[in-house]
């Protein structure tokens, strides 16, 4: 059985004893300190009026996250009214869409009209891209020691599991092609499910406010 080698002060700081658990000298100092600082704790200062309003105004001005909106739309409960004729027409239309879809191999080279960038901040879109359109973008990350690498970014709500990269034949080079909405985005790679890393190939990095660094990606729909 391990002996508790903590000092009385450590036990006090750990919340296991009150002032009475301290030696007399420490107890005296601590009582003064608590009294001295307590005046500030009781000050009753409140955040300035209008802070919440300003925060919400700034948030409202942010571009909507299309993925999140789409997900919300699908998840929102609603009542469906069925009409057999309309249902049949819908089924035919869905079948037609499925037949028209291309192969879904994420590691396949991009098709004509899709431009890519190897993790660099400027990404050019295909000529048919509309403003705000999704642009297929190739991300490349070198991590020979990694067992898994995923991509995350603001356009997927920083979901760290949604976009896995595929390793190219055990080379330590990981890649994925993924549609990204046109605009400026922050992103990072997640190695082995927990270690967030910026893209060393990105031309721009930014402090994310969490003590970490994000890479910055500009997805443009301009003509190449």
């Amino acid at each position: 059985m391990n002996r508790d080698e903590r000092t009385p002060l450590e036990r006090y700081l750990d919340g296991e004893t009150d002032l009475d658990g301290l030696p007399p000298a420490d107890r005296h100092d601590e009582a003064r300190l608590v009294e001295f600082l307590a005046a500030q704790r009781r000050s009753g200062v409140r955040a300035p009026d209008g802070l919440r309003t300003d925060v919400m105004r700034e948030i409202e001005a942010l571009p909507r996250n299309r993925w999140q909106d789409l997900l919300s739309w699908f998840l929102r409960p609603r009542t469906l009214h069925w009409n057999p004729a309309a249902a049949a027409a819908l089924a035919v239309a869905a079948l037609a869409v499925l037949m028209a879809l291309p192969d879904g191999d994420p590691a396949a080279p991009p098709r004509a009209g899709e431009a890519v960038a190897d993790g660099v901040p400027a990404v050019m879109a295909g000529r048919d891209a509309d403003a705000g359109a999704l642009v297929v973008t190739r991300f490349v990350f070198v991590a020979p020691e990694a067992s898994t690498v995923t991509l995350t970014g603001d356009w997927v709500g920083w979901d760290a599991e949604e976009i896995p990269l595929r390793e190219l034949r055990g080379s330590g080079v990981w890649t994925v092609d993924v549609p990204v909405p046109a605009g400026v985005h922050e992103y990072a790679f997640v190695v082995d499910g927990s270690e967030w890393r910026p893209d060393p190939l990105a031309g721009s990095q930014t402090d994310d406010g969490f003590g970490r660094t994000n890479s910055v990606l500009l997805v443009s729909n301009a003509e190449v």
Binding site: L9, E10, L13, D14, G15, D29, E30, R32, L33, V34, F36, L37, A38, A39, Q40, R41, S43, G44, V45, R46, A47, P48, L51, R52, D54, V55, M56, E58, I59, E60, L62, Q68, D69, L71, S72, L75, T152, D154, V156, G157, W158, D159, A160, D207, D208, G209, F210, G211
Partner: protein, 184 residues
């Protein structure tokens, strides 16, 4: 805690309900504002830091791994922004605790003078501490956080927090003795 728990508000925000996030702002803005003031920022700087912190929190809400611990996660953002802002500007010659009204305006004038003097002493004492020690003192003594909560928020060990508190206590002891001697 009044109203829905943090987890519910975080999940509603994630599914597109921006007003749910407004409830989280209301819930934590006062405590975080006081924290920024205690860290030596003036009222305007503290407001800017908080606005930045809340907007960042909203934009990166997907990174909040445990919505039940949203408060700790939000605090970490605010704390990091305080450090970044602190590095950007040189040490202030006047500090926040003078710039904002911390005492009851309706109090007896004599009491207010005493309260003002006490605030000045607190400010001077805290200003002498290195940033990491000040952070620990503010959180432990003024915001009632436990060592474990502080350690989790600052992403350091419990031992590191206790060491900072101990060093801060040793440094503040000198100021306290002077203050009490002057008070007779």
């Amino acid at each position: 805690m009044l109203g829905p728990p943090d987890r519910e508000l975080v999940e509603r925000t994630r599914s597109g309900d921006r007003q749910a996030f407004g409830r989280l702002v209301e819930r934590y803005q006062d405590d975080l504002f006081r924290y920024a003031l205690h860290m030596g920022f003036d009222e305007f700087e503290a407001r800017d830091i908080l606005q930045d912190a809340f907007v960042r929190a909203y934009r990166h809400l997907g990174r909040c791994g445990d919505p039940d611990r949203f408060d700790g996660w939000l605090f970490r953002i605010t704390s990091n922004l305080c450090r970044t802002a602190g590095r950007r500007r040189s040490r202030r010659t006047t500090t926040s605790l003078e710039d904002v009204t911390l005492v009851d305006e309706a109090a007896d004038p004599e009491d207010r003078v005493e309260a003002d003097m006490l605030q000045e002493k607190v400010r001077s004492a805290l200003d002498t501490l290195p940033e990491d020690q000040r952070e620990a003192v503010v959180l432990f003594y003024m915001h009632g956080r436990s060592v474990k909560e502080i350690a989790a928020g600052l992403e350091v060990s419990d031992s590191a927090v206790k060491m900072r508190l101990k060093r801060a206590r040793d440094a503040l002891k000198v100021h306290l003795e002077t203050a009490y001697e002057e008070a007779g």
